[in-house]
Subunit: 172 residues, 2 copies
DNA sequence: ATGTCTGCAAATCCTTTGCATTTTA
DNA sequence: TAAAATGCAAAGGATTTGCAGACAT
């Protein structure tokens, strides 16, 4: 699921398709937005680059070697990154969010396994038609949210049936 | 946004398109599922029938004349209703949910105004193609979530700009 | 009669806020 | 050195849980 918010921030320009984002370019974007490049921020960006897929705040915090920075800082940094369009936030059914680097391309959509919680990307899926209609109806600042859920093949063995679901059944 | 979960519950059959759900048929489904038809449950179903659109738990609780039942009971009843497919739950960006009667037809999609939080229905929008692909990939128990956000026409006046957004900006 | 709900209070979970201290530019 | 970021502790809001009493069947 993706929150494809259209940022109004002047510095929220996405990187060009041709040149993939690097840790350096990400830092430059921070500086360009009058934000400071600190050790926690670099570490957090690092985990995002390492995953290249949606990660939870909790996960990132644990990934940070010896939890080098406070959970609160992770929250604040990601909110800051999102405000300049550096990361994209995905809202899950269970009320939590995942963050991923915002590439220059259109937002990606995912399938989330109800059992193990793993996410997989899914091919292009267009919602522009619907948004166009909404614009015609007078809506502004459009954004949307699309997410698919299911049980992935590896999780369909009997053994998995007794596992605690990553996303409790009653919430999905 | 809609959580179009495919319930596996034997009694979760939806009412036939031809015959719209009534308070009576809803109660019958409760009984059929070995659930009891209590005063709070009837009242809650009542507010759902009255709205015929997604409603928040808080909203339902306030609607109940003199808050005739506890907020906790509203939570529990809705969870119970959802477990037998009587209602559909929608998860909002701000971490809360909306519930609506599960009609026999395909799930409806909505636009949620970022300012006032009002929801409007949007015309058919198909995700079956994507789900079909996922089935081919081996996923089972598919469900999905689709929601659009924007600022509705009435909320675009200057006055509205200072209003506290129903969904804080940093969450959408 | 009995297994199911309900209400109330308290607990939990995730996220945000306040503020003094540290850090970056 | 001035503005911005961090850590820690504590607040906040939504939802859940435990348990004794009330209720539907």
């Amino acid at each position: 699921m993706i929150a494809a918010t259209q940022s109004n921030h002047p510095l929220a320009a996405v990187s060009k398709p041709g040149e993939p984002m690097t840790l350096e370019s990400a830092c430059m974007r921070l500086r360009a937005a009058q934000m400071r490049v600190t050790k926690p921020r670099i570490a957090i960006l690092g985990t995002l680059f390492r995953h290249q897929s949606p990660v939870s705040i909790e996960q990132m915090h644990q990934d940070l070697a010896n939890k080098s920075c406070d959970l609160v800082t992770v929250y604040r940094c990601l909110a800051a990154f999102e405000s300049i369009g550096l990361v994209r936030r995905s809202f899950l059914h269970n009320g939590t969010s995942l963050y991923e680097l915002a590439t220059g391309c259109a937002p990606n959509y995912h399938v989330v396994c109800k059992t193990c919680g793993k996410t997989e990307q899914i091919e292009a899926f267009s919602v522009t038609g619907v948004e166009q209609t909404l614009v015609e109806r007078g809506y502004t600042q459009l954004s949307h949210l699309v997410e698919f859920f299911g049980v992935c093949p590896p999780c369909q063995q009997t053994s998995a049936r007794n596992a605690t679901p990553a996303i409790p059944d009653n919430r999905v």
